[in-house]
């Protein structure tokens, strides 16, 4: 790096104005709680500082040219190697290199959510003779009134419960579906088993433990068979949907120039298929 042909360096000149001005302003305010002469002195200081400052920048800023006396040590290239991820030739990557498209997770979640709702509503119909029962108790998570309802009340259609439960189902299935789409490639073998059995099992276990707080209405009325059945149905549909989606390349192991679509001799990474 040559240091003699640097451009002319200009720095702003030191200036007392800002400090005087700030001091004056502070004194001016202090005048409010002390006495007016303090404020007068403050205003004088502030004006003096302000004028000094203005004259530094107007019409053109005053600048100084420093003597360049010290120079940084030039940075030397390092001989040591940079370790690579062993799985792939690209040492820098946003891992993994291939993913299921996120859309698969989202659609999987929505479809799974529909199937899950169908199972739950069927259960509700068979057990209680009304599909509204399942919807109402689900809404009990967020609605205090559900807990006080009689069984007859729970069998009837309730618009706000419908809204609440519908929103909950939509949001939860969307999020969980997206999560499925994202983590399926990371799971060790048999992702469908994980998605259908293990994850719902964990989820149901958590619900079992926390149900009295999360949804006391549901705890009172829950039919675990149908509850678990609905969760498994969701897991099955969603995970199968995600796994069936083709993986797409994230292009992260492509070099910058490749991603730019440039081809030139010497820019392609050498092929070393291990």
């Amino acid at each position: 790096m040559t240091t003699h042909d640097h451009q002319r360096i200009e720095l702003p000149a030191p200036c007392t104005g800002p400090m005087l001005c700030a001091f004056g302003i502070t004194l001016g305010f202090a005048g409010i709680v002390t006495s007016w002469p303090v404020a007068v002195v403050g205003v004088i200081f502030a004006l003096a500082g302000g004028v000094h400052w203005w004259r530094q920048v107007l019409p053109d800023p005053v600048e100084i040219t420093p003597d360049i006396t010290v120079h940084p040590t030039p940075i030397e290239p390092r001989p040591e190697r940079v370790a690579k991820l062993t799985t792939h030739r690209a040492h820098r990557a946003r891992v993994p290199l291939e993913i299921h498209p996120y859309s698969a997770g989202i659609t999987g979640g929505l479809i799974g959510g529909l199937v899950m709702a169908a199972v739950a509503l069927t259960g509700s119909w068979l057990e209680h003779g009304s599909i509204w029962f399942a919807i109402n108790v689900m809404a009990g998570t967020a609605m205090p009134s559900i807990g006080d309802m009689s069984t007859e009340g729970l069998l009837a259609y309730d618009a706000s419960a419908m809204m609440t439960a519908g929103t909950m189902q939509l949001v939860l299935c969307l999020f969980i579906g997206l999560l499925y789409g994202v983590i399926m490639p990371l799971l060790p073998r048999w992702p469908v088993v994980w998605g259908t059995l293990i994850i719902p099992a964990v989820w149901c276990g958590l619900m079992l433990a926390a149900m009295s707080v999360v949804n006391p209405a549901l705890e009172t009325h829950i039919d675990w068979t149908w509850f678990i059945g609905a969760q498994v149905a969701f897991g099955l549909v969603c995970s199968v949907w995600v796994v069936r989606a083709e993986k797409i390349d994230t292009m992260q192991h492509w070099s910058y120039l490749e991603r730019l679509g440039m081809e030139a001799p010497g820019v392609q990474p050498e092929e070393d298929d291990e």
């Binding site: 190697r81 820098r92 891992v95 999360v214």
Partner: protein, 359 residues
Amino acid sequence: MRQIAAREGSVALFATLAATCVAPALTAALVCDPSLPLHSGTPSMFDPRSAPAEMILDITWLVIAICAVIFVVMEGLIIWAIIRYRAKHARDTAGDTGEPPQVYGSNPIELAWTVIPLLIVFVLFLVSARGIFEIDKQEPPPGALEVRVVGHRWWWEFDYGDLGFSTAAELHIPLTKDGQPQSVFLTLESADVIHSFWVPQLGGKKDVVPGRTNYLWLQPRETGRFVGQCAEYCGAQHAGMLINVVVHEEDDFNAWVANQQKPAHDDPATADGRDLFLSTACINCHTVRGTVANGTFAPDLTHLMSRSVLGSGVIANTPEHLRAWVWDPQDAKPGCDMPAMKLTREDTDRICAWLETLH
């Protein structure tokens, strides 16, 4: 390069973990264990004696559990990362090991740890929202006992409007009414600055804001004395603005009400003390029903001796304390609005002798 003591790393890790876990762990151990050496007077939210306090505790356990799991997992990951990925050769910077693989990130993983917190937040939100609407009642429940609570600097006035009397420092409420659990609905108002009414074992706090009326719902589950105190900074004696709530059996409460409804006890034996009291500036601030004293800036003294505390709870109501208080309240409660009345010792004794008859 500076030296790195090689063993330090793992020790450091464990110590970090231990140090950050010690407080929560101790808390959990001490608070949850009923045999712990807590005082009976501890206003612990983990020892609820009222319906809303129980509801709050349920939600609290849920959120504590969720946060504890996240905490343990994350601290574990941090420690694991330090142990597993520590540079192997302490003196070495990068010379012979080179640089590790440079991984920029991972969209799926990052998406996962965006979505999982969102899920947790969503569920927690639903549950807490239900709790809010359950606990925060804006209308008195049917059949509730209504008490108007007025925060003053630095004492509490309890106005039993329907029952026709007003008292201070101690809130008395019944456990049941006709054998059914009794809801208590407090209307909170302030006479000066913002205060906050907080008796942890009976419910959450609610601020007492001038120019505004707030409500607080309680439903005691057990009899007993429950303490709390003002929870919004309100000036010099914020610390001395204590609350005592006494939950009675139904019959005891009715007896207490019947006594409070009477005017002040009039005992000729202490009439000179009464006359002295009524001739001082005391009556500008204090009320004693049945006399000319009708000030409203300070606690109603009509049934002073039915209360177990003085100065809004800073001292117990004993004859000695009463004398000391009348002599100079600034000693027990420095900064409070009641001045030393500059009475002689004899006058103090005479006034106290009369005050002690106000059962």
